[in-house]
Symmetry: C2
Subunit: 201 residues, 2 copies
C-alpha cells in the first residue's frame, strides 16, 4: 500500500540509463543474456498498463544460432550483422485474438464482446497496446542494465512465415538485446523541440 | 562516453516505481504539476528510440478548466470525473506528416522519400512509433515521481475537432497525469504468464 508521501523522481543516473544516455546499439559485447533475465524482463513488461488490461503483446526470444539463421533472410541488409551478433533478438508481436483472454484478464465486464466482429477495432487495439508494451520492453531492458537495438527494417510476412505460422500472432517490430559495444554507436540525432512537438492548453 | 563496465540493474525501489507497484489512477491528490515538469517530461520522452528517428509523437497538455471542459463531451462516461480532476491531461497524438521533419531528424539519407505516396506505411509508422512514445511517456512520468491514468475510452473525432482542427495531428490515446489518490486505485488485475505470452527459440 502506497503511503501519502509523494514519490521522488529517480536519480540522475537512472534517468541517464533509461532515457538521456541510452543509445540504440549496432554492435554487442560477448556478454550473454541468460533466460532468467528474459523472464525477469517479461515480469516487468507485463505490469505496464494496457487498455482494459487487454495485454495483446507476445514475445519471441531468439537466442540460438538456428533461430538467427531462420530470421536472417527476412532482415534488410543493414540489420543483418547487428542482429546475428546480438545475444537475444526479440520479435515484438501481438496476438490478433488477444480478446479471447479478456474474460480472464478483465473480469469486471464482458470486454470480449467489444471486439468480436470488429476487425478494425481489434487491429487498432492490438497495434496501440502491443506497441506500448514494446516501449515498456525497451525501458524495462534498460532498467535491468541491458541495451536495446530496436528495428523496423524487415519483411513481416517472411518473419511470420518462419516463426508464427499456425498462430494468430503478428510481428510488430524487432528489438535486439544485450550489452552494447559503445564503439559502434552512431552520433546522437537531433530531436524536436518542446515547441515543435507540444501544445499547452 | 560510456565506459566498458556493464550498467547495473536499477534498484528494487526504482523497479517498483516504474513497473511493479505503479498503478493506473482513477483519482488525484490536489498537488499540481507545473509546466517546468511537463517540459522535463518531454525532454525524457523525446530521447526514446523511434524508427529512423522519425519522432511522430505530438502532445497536447491540457491543464486549464477551459481545456478540460472542451474535452469532457468526447470522453466515455466512466472517464469524465478522473479526467476533469487530473492536474494534467495529455492527448498523445501523432503527426500524419511526421515525414516532413525527416530531412532534419535523419540527415543520413532521403528517409522522407520512403513515405511519400505510401499512406499505409505512413499510418503504420505513425501508430507504431507514436504508441512507443506513449509508452515512454508513461515510464518517464513515473520516473519523475508522477502517476498516470491512461485511457482509450473517448471519441477520437470529437477530440480532434475540439483540439486538432487545422493540423495534421491525430489523437492516439489520452493519459492523465498527476499524483494519484491511492484510495481510488482498483485491485490489481491478473497478467499472462511467461509461458502464455512468450516463446523461446
Amino acid at each position: 500500500m502506497k503511503d501519502l508521501e509523494l514519490q521522488d523522481t529517480l536519480g540522475p543516473e537512472a534517468l541517464d540509463q533509461l532515457f538521456l544516455e541510452a543509445r540504440s546499439q549496432n554492435g554487442w559485447r560477448d556478454t550473454p543474456v541468460d533466460d532468467a533475465t528474459l523472464e525477469q524482463l517479461y515480469d516487468l513488461v507485463k505490469m505496464g498498463p494496457t487498455s482494459a488490461n487487454c495485454s495483446p503483446a507476445r514475445f519471441v526470444f531468439i537466442r540460438t544460432a538456428e533461430g538467427k539463421e531462420k530470421l536472417a533472410p527476412a532482415l534488410s541488409k543493414s540489420n543483418v550483422d547487428k542482429t546475428m551478433t546480438a545475444p537475444v533478438t526479440v520479435l515484438v508481436c501481438h496476438d490478433m485474438e488477444f480478446y479471447e483472454k479478456l474474460p480472464e484478464l478483465f473480469p469486471h465486464g464482458d470486454a470480449k464482446s467489444w471486439f468480436t466482429g470488429s476487425p478494425a477495432l481489434i487491429e487498432e487495439t492490438a497495434m496501440r497496446n502491443g506497441s506500448l508494451a514494446g516501449g515498456y520492453l525497451i525501458m524495462a531492458a534498460r532498467a535491468l542494465g541491458l541495451d536495446c537495438g530496436p528495428l523496423s527494417g524487415f519483411e513481416a510476412d517472411k518473419v511470420e512465415e518462419a516463426f508464427l505460422a499456425g498462430t494468430t500472432w503478428k510481428v510488430n517490430f524487432i528489438c535486439n538485446i544485450g550489452y552494447g559495444d559503445p564503439d559502434k554507436v552512431w552520433g546522437r540525432l537531433p530531436r524536436l523541440s518542446f515547441d515543435d512537438a507540444c501544445v499547452m492548453v
